[in-house]
Amino acid sequence: MARVELSSKKLHSEFIKKVAEISGQNIYQCYQCGKCSAGCPMCFAMDILPNQIIRLAQLGLEDEIASSKTIWLCASCLTCDARCPKGVDLSRIMEAMRLLTLRKNKNHIEPSKMNRETLAELPAIALVSSFRKLTS
């Protein structure tokens, strides 16, 4: 990862407050044991590991989180939540981070641009879940 700049302003940013409020989680509970990343089924595809996401959040590094693919690859399987020794539900933190983008009316996927064959092939359970998690 490139050099990052820390500042008091970032540490007390609106972003951190919103993540905490929407997720209902205390992000400062995390002591970086890495259990979430060890069990994450999608982490092989992530550019920033789940435990690194929460560390970036603690430091208020909103831009680094926003430019990462990680939050969009989370499948909400809750394995991190089940195994966190500090009782932090990272799946809720990931959801809060997604919502901070989606609530600006920015879709992560565009259902209208999906081709007809794909839509016909996928079962409703996959489509509804995906649209719920990845569109505004």
């Binding site: 409020e21 089924p41 359970i125 995906s130």
Partner: protein, 292 residues
């Protein structure tokens, strides 16, 4: 016994093989699954945001309809429906502020306080019917068939919704034993298949399927049992691509747990709708003389 039954979107379309086999098996066990009239989509995924209550409304409306149907308990087949309904019910039962907000929003209905108990079919089989009674119905024992049981996520997580020990579940293996099969343990039984990421990141889901299926095979499984229509789709569709990508990949037949029950109970083959399973699974069933 009559139980209120909530089907859900995929059960009524792609997973008719799950529904038809489940209804037939339960009838054989003396349970009538009474489909909830006017059910609507449960929302599939539970909203994880504290300030997002509107996405629980669909599930709560179903719970209110179950109450109107005159039942205290509802059973689901789909693992996603189970999870959404169960957790929406928890909110209505345990969180007075959110309950008040949701009830106020749904002002045409009588207030709901989480009185319905939401169960998955596996819980009914284990807790209400009992494995002994299931064993007694077996007329074609599975003859030691090596069966790996795959749980996925939503029957086990979060802990409050877990139908069994979330890290070490045994409910499906116990069922396999009761049917005369040999349960195979494998380390990927409770790992996520990638879920809805199949829509946007199919290659990643296929890689997950590769690991899950290979792990079951390495441990000796001849067939994989599933309980979730999304796991079933992901693991089935991935095998076509995986055989092209990895020449040594053999793949595994996949069945819903209710289909293998129907086979061992000797029920009419039609209830299994095997045409909805993969052609490889259908061929495997014939080869192993599980179907004529």
């Amino acid at each position: 016994m009559i139980l209120s039954y909530f089907p859900g979107c995929t059960i009524k379309t792609r997973a008719r093989n799950f529904e038809d086999s489940a209804i037939a098996v339960m009838r054989e066990l003396g349970v009538n699954l009474e489909e909830l009239p006017r059910w609507n989509c449960c929302g599939t995924v539970y909203s994880l945001a504290e300030d997002d209550l509107v996405h629980h409304v669909a599930s709560v409306r179903n719970l209110m309809h179950i109450r109107k149907q005159g039942h205290q308990k509802v059973v689901t087949l789909c693992a996603f429906c189970y999870n959404s309904l169960h957790r929406a019910n928890e909110i209505m039962r345990d969180n007075p502020d959110k309950r008040f907000a949701i009830n106020s929003f749904m002002d045409e209905e009588d207030p709901y306080e989480g009185q319905i108990s939401v169960s998955h079919l596996l819980q009914v089989l284990r807790d209400d019917i009992g494995l002994d009674k299931i064993s007694a119905k077996v007329i074609k024992p599975l003859d030691g068939l090596k069966i790996a049981s795959y749980y996925g996520c939503t029957l086990l997580r979060p802990k409050s919704a877990a139908i069994d020990n979330p890290e070490n579940p045994i409910i499906l293996q116990s069922l396999v034993k009761a049917l005369g099969g040999t349960p195979i343990e494998f380390p990927f039984a409770i790992e996520c298949c990638g879920s809805f990421q199949v829509v946007d990141n199919r290659d990643f889901v296929n890689e997950r399927a590769y690991e899950i299926i290979n792990s079951a095979m390495k441990n000796g499984a001849e067939v994989l049992l599933v309980s979730c229509p999304l796991c079933e789709f992901n693991l089935r569709q991935a095998q076509v691509k995986l055989k092209q990508k990895y020449t040594d990949f053999k793949g595994l037949p996949i069945l819903y747990f209710t289909q293998i029950m129907a086979l061992s109970f000797g029920l009419d083959i039609k209830v299994n709708d095997f045409e909805l399973n993969s052609t490889e699974t259908q061929e495997w069933l014939k080869k192993n003389k599980l179907v004529a």
